[in-house]
Symmetry: D3
C-alpha cells in the first residue's frame, strides 16, 4: 500500500479590493495601502488542489484528475473566474478577500465534494510572489 | 559597432472591464463574454520593455537598466498598479482596455521618455497565455 | 493606426519518433540517436500563435483571442493532442516529426483559417529547451 | 544540529498509454479517455528528488547534489528517457503508467541507493498542471 | 479557527565559492569540483519565506506581506544582494556557503524578527534545479 | 522551401563585477551602484541560441540540436560556467561584463562555428528580469 498525493493546477482571473467593513476608511487605507483602492484591482490567481489517497489497484489513480478538474471548475472556478470577489461571489459575502480568507473559503466549498481520496491541501497564488496554503488544520 | 537590444521585465496588478461605449449592453455582452462582467475582473500584467541601441564604449550599456526601471515605474507602473484601468488611469480614458489598446497607450506615454537608445518593443502579458506586442509600426 | 501582434499560448501532449523512411535503420539510429527509439517517446508541446493586424477601432482587438483559441483547438490541437504524431495525424503522414517539420505543417493547416489579421508567427516548444519558429518565409 | 531538505530537479521525455490489462477495451476507453489512445502519447516529465538529513559539519552538504544527480541519472533517467513507459522499462512491466504508479515505482528503485541522508520525497510532474507526490508512506 | 501558511517570494544575486578552511586545497578541489573555482562564481538566488498562523479576524491576514517583505529585505536581502557570500556578509563568516548552510544561517537571522505568526519554512533555490529547505527542526 | 528558426536554451552560473578601467573608483561606484561591489556578485545566466536555415529535406532538421548543444558547450559554456567573468575568461579580458558586452563577445566566439544554417540571434538573461539580445547587426 502507498499513500500518494496528486495535484491539479487551475487558474482564474478576478478583481478584488481589500476593505474591512468593521474599520473606518482611513483605517482601511492605512492597513491595506494600495490594495484598498476604491475601484479595486485584480490578479491572475493560480490554484493548486492536492488530493491524498492510495492509488486504486486497477486504475492506478488516486482520483481521476479529469473528474477532479470538472468538480473544481464547477464548484470554484465558474463562480470566481472573471468576477469581482467582493461583489459577485455568494460564498465570499462579508469576507475580506485576502489570499488567506479566499483559500479557506474555497476549502469549505470543496471539502465535501471530493469523491475519492481526501482533500489534503489548497495553495492559492495571488501573484507569483504571494501565496497562501490551507490544509484544513 | 554593434546594435544590441536590452529588455527589462516589470509587472503590475490591475482590474479592468472590456466594454465599448459605442455598443449596446447586449452587443458588449455578446462581443466580450465574461470579460464584460459589470463589476470587472483583473490580471497580474507582465510588461517587457525593449530598448535598441549601441552599447556605450565606456559603460558597456545601451541604457542603464536601473534608470530605465525608474522611468517605467514613474511613467507607467505607478499610474496603473493596483488600479482599475477603466476608471483610475487618466491616459486610458475612453479606451477599451484590451491588451492591444493598453500596449499602444503605454507606448505613447513612454516613447519620448527614453534618454538613451530608442524604444523598440513593448510586450504586455495579460495572462501567461495571452500577450500583445507593439513596435511603434 | 497601429500594427499590433497578439499571441495565444496553447499546448498538447503527443508521442513521436524521429525516423526517416529514406534512410536505413543504422543511418536513422546514428542520425537521431535516442530520438529514434522504435517505440517512440513524447513531449508536452507548447504552441504560440501570433496574429498581426490593426486593432479594430470599436472592439480594440486585432482578433478575438477566444475565437482564435477555438480555431486553433479545432484545426490543430484536437488532431494532435494525446496522439502519436507518426501514426495518428493525417496531415503529418510521411513527414519526419521534427519540431521544424511540425511547425511548418501546422502553418499550412492554419494560414487560411484566420478570419481577422494575418498569421505572423508560430513557435513550437518541444521541451523548455528546444524550440522552432516559422514565419511563413 | 539542523535537519535540512535538499532537492534536485531533473527531467525526461517519454511516451506512455494508460491501459489496464484487467479491463476490456471499452472499459479502458471509458476510464482513460484520450489517454487510452492505442498508439500512445507522451510528456516532458519533471522529477524532483528530495533528500533529508543534517548537513555534514565539514562539507556543509546533506548530500553532494552532483553525486545525487549521477545516481538518479543512472538508476532512473537513463532507463526512462526517450522511452515508451509501457514497453521499454523493465521495472514498469505490468504497471499502468499513471503518475501515481510511476512515482511509487521510481521510489522503489531509488530508496536503497542514497548514500547520505534519506530519500524524503519524490514529485513527478506529468505536465505543468498534473503532479504526483510520494513520501514512502 | 484555521491555520494558514502564507509565503512571500524574494530574490538576490550573489557570488560564492565552496571552500572549507579545514580541508587542503586538493581536498577542496576534489570535494567541490568547479564550485571551488578560486575566483568564485554566482547565482540568482530565490528565497521563499513561509509564515504559519491564524488569519486575524479583522484584517484577514496571518501577517501583512508588505511588512514581511520589508523585514526580510532589511534583515536578509540588503545584506546579501550583490555581495560575495564568503567575504561581504558578517553572519556568514566561517560558514561554507552551501545552500544548506545559507538557509540555516538565514533562519537564525529571521526567526526572532517575525511580529505575527511564526516562521515555518525557508526555501532557497540556488538555481532552478537545486534547492534547500529548512523548517527549524 | 521554408525558412525556420531553431532555438536551444542553455545556462551557466558565473560571478562578475561591473567596473570600467577607464573610470575612477568613485565614478565606477556612482555609475554601477551595487553592481560595482569590489568582491563581485553573480548570476544564473540563461542563454538562448537561435539558428536560421531551411530544414534538410531528408533529416527534417535545420541543424542537429544535440550537435549545436555540444558546440555551444565547448565554445562558450565550458569557458564561463562556474567562473568569474572578469578574471577567468580569456575572451572577456578588458571587457566590462555587462549583459550587452557578454552577448556580443559570445557572438564573436560562436559565429564561425555553426556547421549548418547561420547564427541568427543570441539572447542572454542575466536575471529573469534583465536580458540582452544580439543579432549580429
Amino acid at each position: 500500500m502507498a499513500m500518494v498525493y496528486v495535484t491539479r493546477h487551475m487558474h482564474f482571473n478576478a478583481a478584488h479590493r481589500l476593505h474591512s467593513d468593521v474599520l473606518s476608511d482611513p483605517e482601511n487605507e492605512q492597513l491595506y495601502g494600495v490594495c484598498n483602492n476604491p475601484m479595486g484591482h485584480g490578479h491572475n490567481y493560480e490554484l493548486e488542489i492536492t488530493i491524498k489517497g492510495e492509488p486504486d489497484p486497477v486504475t492506478g489513480m488516486v482520483i481521476d484528475l479529469k473528474e477532479l478538474k470538472d468538480i473544481v471548475q464547477q464548484v470554484i472556478i465558474d463562480r470566481v473566474d472573471h468576477k469581482h470577489l467582493n461583489f459577485d461571489v455568494d460564498f465570499m459575502r462579508g469576507i475580506v478577500p485576502t489570499a488567506e480568507n479566499i483559500v479557506v473559503a474555497f476549502w469549505q466549498q470543496l471539502k465535501d465534494k471530493i469523491p475519492q481520496g481526501e482533500l489534503y491541501e489548497l495553495k492559492l497564488y495571488e501573484t507569483p510572489r504571494n501565496m497562501a496554503t490551507f490544509r484544513g488544520e
